[in-house]
C-alpha cells in the first residue's frame, strides 16, 4: 500500500500569540508538527506495518519549515516530499488543496491519503475534504478506527465520528481519511529515528515541478487582532465550610441571573 500523510508545521500550542504591526507573532516559541497530524502519522505507520507498504510525509510550506516533516520521518515515515513555492504565500484552503492534490497525483499510485483533523493555527479542517473532492476520492473524516482493509479489492472499512455517534463506513480506495485523537496515542520518535530524520534528504517541488499554475485564492484575511481584554473581575466565594461556600455561590448565581 502506498500511503501519503499530510503534515504541517505550526507554533507550539503553549505559545502566547500576539499581533505586532498587523502581523501574527509567537515570539520565540518552538515550532512543532501540528499535534493532530501525529495521529495521522501513527495511523499511517501502523497501516503500512499491517498491510505492507510505505509512508510518505507531504508538507506544503516554506522550505525552512521542516519541523513537521522531520517529526514524521523520526516517527518512522519512509520518505518525504516538501512542496514550496514563493507563489503560494497567502494561499487559502482551496488553493492549498489544489497544490496538495497535484502533489499526490505526482507521487502516483497512492492508495490512501491521511490527514490530521485540522490545523491548530488556522483551525479550518477543510483540506482533507477539499483534496478528496478534487481527486474525486471518497472523503472519510474524523476516523478513529480502521477495521478492515483489503488492498487487493480496493476496499476499506473505518469508524468515523459525528455529533450523534459513530458511523461504520465501507469505502472504495483510493480514499482520503482524516484521523482523530481517538485513534490512539502517537509514538515518540526514537533516538535512532531522530538521527535518521536529521540526515534525511527529500525532494522540494515547486509549482513548475507539479506542472500547475499558481492557483488563485479568494479568501483574504486583511485583519488579525488579539481578543479584546474581557474585564473579568474575579470574585472569590468565601465561607467557613464547603456548605457555606456552596450556598454563597448559589446566591451569587441567582443575583447575577446566571440561573
Amino acid at each position: 500500500m502506498k500511503i501519503v500523510v499530510c503534515v504541517k508545521q505550526v507554533p507550539d500550542t503553549a505559545a502566547t500569540m500576539v499581533v505586532e504591526n498587523g502581523n501574527i507573532s509567537w515570539g520565540d516559541a518552538p515550532l512543532i508538527i501540528n499535534p493532530w497530524d501525529e495521529f495521522a502519522v501513527e495511523a499511517a505507520l501502523n497501516l503500512a506495518a499491517d498491510h505492507g507498504g510505505e509512508v510518505t510525509a507531504l508538507c506544503l510550506g516554506k522550505e525552512e519549515e521542516t519541523e513537521a516533516i522531520k517529526h514524521a520521518l523520526a516517527m518512522g515515515a519512509d520518505a518525504a516530499v516538501m512542496v514550496s513555492d514563493p507563489a503560494l504565500e497567502g494561499s487559502d484552503n482551496v488553493a492549498a488543496s489544489k497544490v496538495i492534490s497535484a502533489a499526490i497525483t505526482k507521487i502516483g499510485e497512492v492508495d490512501l491519503v491521511l490527514f490530521g483533523q485540522q490545523s491548530v493555527d488556522t483551525d479550518t479542517g477543510l483540506l482533507p475534504v477539499q483534496v478528496a473532492r478534487l481527486l474525486n476520492w471518497p472523503s472519510l473524516t474524523l476516523v478513529s478506527k480502521f477495521e478492515g482493509i483489503t488492498p487487493a479489492e480496493g476496499r476499506l472499512q473505518v469508524v468515523r465520528s459525528m455529533e450523534e455517534g459513530n458511523q461504520v463506513v465501507e469505502s472504495r480506495m483510493p480514499a482520503v481519511v482524516s484521523v482523530t485523537k481517538d485513534y490512539g496515542e502517537p509514538r515518540y520518535p526514537s533516538f535512532m529515528g531522530i538521527r535518521k530524520a536529521s540526515k534525511a534528504e527529500y525532494p522540494v517541488w515547486s509549482l513548475a515541478d507539479l506542472g500547475i499554475d499558481p492557483p488563485s485564492s479568494t479568501i483574504a484575511w486583511p485583519e488579525v487582532s488579539e481578543p479584546a481584554e474581557k474585564e473579568i473581575v474575579t470574585e472569590v466565594i468565601d465561607g467557613d465550610t464547603p456548605e457555606e461556600k456552596a450556598k454563597n455561590l448559589i446566591d451569587k448565581l441567582i443575583a447575577e441571573k446566571v440561573l
Binding site: 499535534p35 488543496s97 477543510l126 448559589i250 440561573l259
Partner: protein, 347 residues
C-alpha cells in the same frame, strides 16, 4: 444589492442540529436588510416535515430532496445535490452550521463552485455588500477578519454564536423538490452501522457545562479497596469524582466536559474533552472542577459567559478567567452545591 441566501439545514435522521436554525435566522436577517430572500436546503430521507420547520424559522423557499439514498450521511451524494441546488438557486451567500457534517459539506461544495469557505464564524458584517466574517484562529488566541472575493460567499457558523429565531407557526412558503439523479448502486461508500453515543447532551450546543480535570482523582479522604494497584486507585477515585461532576450536571441539565489530562489518564472518553485539541465551547455557564487552566484548555472555553472555578490551589491560572472562584476541595464542595441548586431549581 439584494441578496439571495441559502441556508443548509444539518440534521441526523431528521433530528436538526440547532445551529442550523441559527443559520436560518441569520439568512433571514441578511435577506431582510438587502431586500432579498432566504431559502433553506434540506436533504435526507423522510424529512418533509423539516420544510415546515424551515418556514417557521423564516425561510421564503425550501429546496428539498427526500430520497432513500440520502438516509445516511455520505458526503459525496449530498455535495452533488448542494452544488446542484446552488446552481439552480444562484445564492450570493451560503450558510452552513459548523457541525462535523456542515464543515465537510461546505468545504466540498466550495470546490465544486470554485469559491472559498469562511469557517467557524462568530460574527458577520454584511453592511458593505460583501461579507466581513470574524473567526477565532490559533485556538481562540487570536481573531481574524475574513473576506471572500468569489461567489457564492460560503460561511459556516460556530454553534451558539448567532441567535436562534423565534419560530412562527403561521409562516409557510413554496417547496422546490430537487431532482435526485443518484445511482442507488453506487458503491463509493456504504454506511454499515451507526453506534449511538452514551451521553445525551452534546458539548457544543450545551448552555451549561460542568467539567472535571485531574482534580477529580485527588481525594485523600477516600479509602479505596485494598486489592487495587496505584493506577487502578487513581481511576477508582476519578470515577467517584466524575460521578459528583455528573450529579451537578444532571441537576443543571448540563453537559459533562473534561480536561485533556483527565482524558489522557483514562478517566473519561475523548468526546468530553474541551480545549484546543478537543471541543471549543461557549456556554452561558461553565463550571471547572479540579482544572488548572492550561492555555490549551482556556482556548476551548474562555468565551463562556460566566466561568466558575473550583480549585484547591488559590494560584491556579483558571482563577484569572473565572467570574467566581472557590478555593477548596471539589469533592467537598460539589455535593452541597448540587443539593443546594437542586433545592433552588425545584422550589
Amino acid at each position: 444589492m439584494t441578496k439571495k441566501i441559502l441556508a443548509y439545514i444539518d440534521h441526523f435522521h431528521g433530528k436538526v442540529q440547532s445551529a442550523s436554525w441559527e443559520g436560518m435566522g441569520l439568512a433571514v436577517r441578511i435577506a431582510a436588510d438587502s431586500g432579498g430572500e432566504a431559502a433553506a436546503l434540506i436533504l435526507g430521507e423522510g424529512i418533509k416535515d423539516l420544510a415546515d420547520q424551515a418556514f417557521h424559522y423564516g425561510a421564503d423557499q425550501v429546496y428539498l430532496a427526500d430520497h432513500a439514498v440520502l438516509k445516511d450521511f455520505r458526503p459525496e451524494p449530498l455535495t452533488d445535490l448542494i452544488t446542484a441546488a446552488a446552481e439552480e438557486y444562484q445564492p450570493d451567500v451560503m450558510i452552513f452550521p459548523t457541525t462535523t457534517r456542515g464543515r465537510t459539506l461546505a468545504g466540498m461544495a466550495a470546490v465544486d463552485l470554485d469559491t472559498g469557505v469562511m469557517v467557524d464564524v462568530i460574527n458577520l458584517d454584511w453592511g458593505g455588500g460583501k461579507l466581513s466574517a470574524t473567526r477565532p484562529i490559533y485556538g481562540g488566541k487570536l481573531f481574524a477578519k475574513l473576506t471572500c472575493s468569489s461567489s457564492p460567499e460560503i460561511v459556516t457558523l460556530r454553534t451558539r454564536a448567532f441567535d436562534k429565531p423565534e419560530p412562527d407557526p403561521e409562516r409557510s412558503g413554496t417547496v422546490t423538490n430537487l431532482d435526485v439523479k443518484l445511482d442507488p448502486a453506487d458503491q463509493t461508500t456504504k454506511v454499515l452501522d451507526h453506534q449511538e453515543k452514551a451521553s445525551a447532551v452534546s458539548l457544543s450546543d450545551a448552555s451549561v457545562i460542568v467539567t472535571g480535570g485531574r482534580g477529580t482523582a485527588v481525594n485523600p479522604a477516600l479509602t479505596p479497596p485494598d486489592d487495587l494497584d496505584e493506577e487502578a486507585v487513581e481511576k477508582w477515585k476519578a470515577e467517584k469524582g466524575f460521578a459528583l461532576v455528573q450529579n451537578l450536571a444532571d441537576v443543571l441539565g448540563a453537559a459533562v466536559g473534561a480536561s485533556r489530562a483527565a482524558v489522557d489518564a483514562g478517566y473519561i472518553e475523548y468526546d468530553h474533552q474541551v480545549g484546543q485539541t478537543g471541543k471549543v465551547v461557549s456556554p452561558d455557564l461553565y463550571i471547572a472542577c479540579g482544572i488548572s487552566g492550561a492555555i490549551q484548555h482556556l482556548a476551548g472555553m474562555r468565551s463562556s459567559k460566566v466561568i466558575v472555578a473550583i480549585n484547591k490551589d488559590p494560584d491556579a491560572p483558571i482563577f484569572n478567567f473565572a467570574r467566581f472562584g472557590m478555593v477548596g476541595d471539589m469533592h467537598e464542595i460539589l455535593p452541597p452545591l448540587t443539593d443546594g441548586l437542586k433545592a433552588y431549581l425545584e422550589g
